[in-house]
């Protein structure tokens, strides 16, 4: 909460008195190095430019929004969310539709915004490995990740179903383009879970947060893990012996949404329009290796060619990955997660 206070003070100081006074928004995100990057690249500069006062919070995801909306006590104006959970929340009617007359998405990748959620950054779910254990001969595919004979060592894997089944199916020999077709039935979901079941004796930890899987790699607690690419880059910056690959990674995006009944809905819309502009998005990769959702951000000259090459959404990297299917998550996530929990408790 201290960051919130400091931020409120700095934004108040930076804002011009004429426009500043009554406009404020409360934004909730995931904390850690991720929110810090959002704060530095998007929230603080946009607050200074618009005079909107920003209060930041961390939250537990769409379940918090669900609670606020159902009890009609909404305090959050903007939430950062994974695309899949945002799609589910939208289907449940928990989100306000976004006004794309205000938010300019003309230069956005067309798949990175929806009626209720506008993309904020592109990230990848990758497999990462300890460079002390495997040197330069790390895994090159999910099949390698699941192969404990070729790559002996302990693993970590996600404790929830999101992003967990796709890699397992690819390891089981399904071509990336067929993954969601195979997963479109309980039998297909079971097939993927069986593959993880096989690996389970070697899975030392089922992680539950990005901060956790970054820490596991930094401490050398496990030799390989699945996880989000930006966290690994930051772990590496802190001296962690970790590398990852975009081959067969899952291309996904985070987005911003407005909870239904948000107290400052109009200001929130204005603020989303601001942070979606290329001049803010092009700063994000400085702080975390997540790519912009606005294509024009690559053209401002701020993102160097070398930086772009390391981002999940650079054309070359994107081509090596499987884009996450929001339709699949909307349809199957609840059932799949129940089956996944069965496997976890065995």
């Amino acid at each position: 909460m201290r960051t919130t206070a400091i931020l409120a003070i700095t934004t108040a100081l930076a804002a011009t008195p004429a426009t500043a006074m009554n406009k404020s928004v409360t934004i909730a995100s995931w904390g850690g190095s991720y929110q810090e990057a959002q704060s530095k690249a998007l929230f603080e500069p946009a607050a200074a430019a618009t005079g909107i006062e920003v209060k930041q919070e961390t939250y537990g995801g769409m379940s918090d929004v669900r609670l606020q909306v159902s009890s009609r006590r909404v305090t959050l104006d903007i939430v950062a969310s994974g695309s899949g959970s945002a799609a589910r929340a939208a289907a449940e009617g928990l989100l306000e539709p976004l006004d794309y007359d205000i938010i300019d998405v003309s230069t956005f990748y067309p798949t990175l915004y929806t009626e209720h959620c506008v993309g904020g950054d592109v990230f990848s779910t990758v497999y990462a490995w300890n460079t002390d254990t495997y040197g330069n001969n790390g895994p090159r595919s999910w099949a390698d990740f699941f192969d404990v004979e070729k790559f002996p060592g302990s693993r970590a894997y996600r404790g929830k179903v999101a992003g967990a089944l796709e890699g397992a199916l690819m390891a089981d020999g399904v071509a990336p383009e067929n993954v969601y077709r195979v997963l479109d039935s309980e039998a297909g979901i079971e097939r993927a879970i069986d593959k993880i079941r096989e690996l389970k004796p070697h899975i030392a930890v089922f992680w539950t947060s990005g901060a956790q899987h970054a820490q596991l790699m930094k401490d050398g607690e496990v030799d390989m893990t699945s996880g989000w690419n930006g966290r690994f880059d930051n772990a590496k910056k802190d001296g962690g012996r970790v590398a990852y690959s975009f081959d067969q990674a899952l291309l996904d995006y985070d987005c911003f949404a407005i909870p239904k009944g948000a107290p400052n809905k109009d200001v929130a819309m204005e603020f989303l329009a601001e942070i979606s502009k290329p001049r803010y998005q092009d700063d994000l990769p400085k702080y975390i290796t997540y790519g912009p959702t606005n294509k024009a951000a690559y053209e401002t000259g701020v993102i160097t060619a070398a930086q772009a090459a390391g981002l999940p959404s650079s054309p070359e990297n994107a081509a090596r990955q499987l884009p996450v299917s929001l339709e699949w998550y909307a349809k199957w996530e609840t059932i799949a997660d129940e089956l996944y929990q069965e496997m976890l408790t065995e």
Binding site: V205, E338, E342
Partner: protein, 294 residues
């Protein structure tokens, strides 16, 4: 004044007295009603509401249909029993040791028992993670001392979880046991010796039974608190020790309604009360918790 009128007067005084006591207790009774009875009743009510908002048994049916729920309850009670057992094994001898020390030394020892008690649970849990992990202090030192060659797995599993939970729960056992031990007149032991009992026999036939009320009160507290643990198993269990509280959180995230989570709470409550009831059949709970030796 005849005897009958006297008796009636006494009865009236008695009733008045009880009424006054009730009046004094009423704020507490109201508080318990407001913060315990009503919410638990609400929880019970919500657990019977399905995803569509109508009365439904689906939240309970789900628990029967999926095997993971039974496993999670088993894990929860297993963790409760194991932690309680380990706390007794470690805490009882320690309390006995401290109770035999002279006053100032005993106070010092008690402070060392209490000090971690005043430290945040979260901090202690993460401290254990740092100590116990593969390249943590424990493994590093043990390897450099030649105790074992490869790092052993003492965290991200049941072992790590139990180490953390026993550490956190120990004061809850030591304090009531220590209290019971301090209140025992040590002359009883001398009397036992005088009557021909060896130290062992004197301990088991005289001292130990007198500490039982404290021991049961402590164990009960440890056991019940263990059933609701969340942070420690989540951090030290490595995603493999899944207790009911964790499932409650994941169910709130997963399902749209509160019923799915409330039903878990209701079942946990009922099972816990069942265990207490069974325990009270074998042990005289009231006498034990009253702490009396009569």
């Amino acid at each position: 004044m005849d005897a009958a009128a006297n008796r009636a007067g006494l009865r009236f005084d008695d009733r008045l007295e009880r009424l006054k006591l009730f009046g004094l207790a009423s704020p507490a009774i109201l508080l318990i009603l407001a913060i315990l009875v009503i919410p638990v009743g609400w929880l019970f009510h919500v657990s019977f509401i399905g995803a569509d908002g109508n009365f439904s048994l689906e939240n309970y049916e789900r628990m029967l249909a999926r095997k993971s729920y039974a496993r999670i309850f088993r894990t929860t009670f297993e963790v409760g029993f194991l932690t309680t057992g380990l706390c007794v094994l470690i805490g009882y001898p320690l309390a006995y040791f401290i109770s035999g020390l002279p006053g100032r030394l005993a106070n010092l020892c008690l402070i060392t028992v209490l000090l971690p008690f005043w430290t945040s649970l979260l901090v202690r849990t993460y401290a254990w993670l740092v100590l116990l992990q593969k390249r943590g202090l424990v493994n590093d030192w043990a390897i450099s001392l030649g105790l074992w060659d490869e790092p052993i797995k003492i965290v991200h599993n049941m072992t790590g979880n139990l180490i953390g939970m026993v550490h956190i729960m120990l004061p809850f056992l030591i304090l009531p046991v220590y209290g019971a031990m301090r209140s025992i007149d040590r002359d009883y032991m001398k009397a036992a010796a005088n009557l021909g009992a060896g130290p062992n026999r004197a301990f088991w036939t005289v001292f130990f039974p007198l500490t039982l009320p404290g021991l049961f009160a402590g164990s009960l507290m440890v056991f019940i608190l263990c059933l609701g643990f969340f942070v420690t198993p989540a951090v030290l269990g490595g995603g493999k020790v899944i207790m009911v509280s964790m499932k409650i959180v994941s169910n709130i995230e997963l399902f749209v309604n509160w019923g799915a989570a409330s039903a878990l709470g209701v079942v946990l409550l009922v099972l816990t009360m069942l265990i207490l009831w069974i325990a009270s059949r074998f042990l005289n709970l009231e006498r034990i918790t009253a702490g009396g030796g009569n």
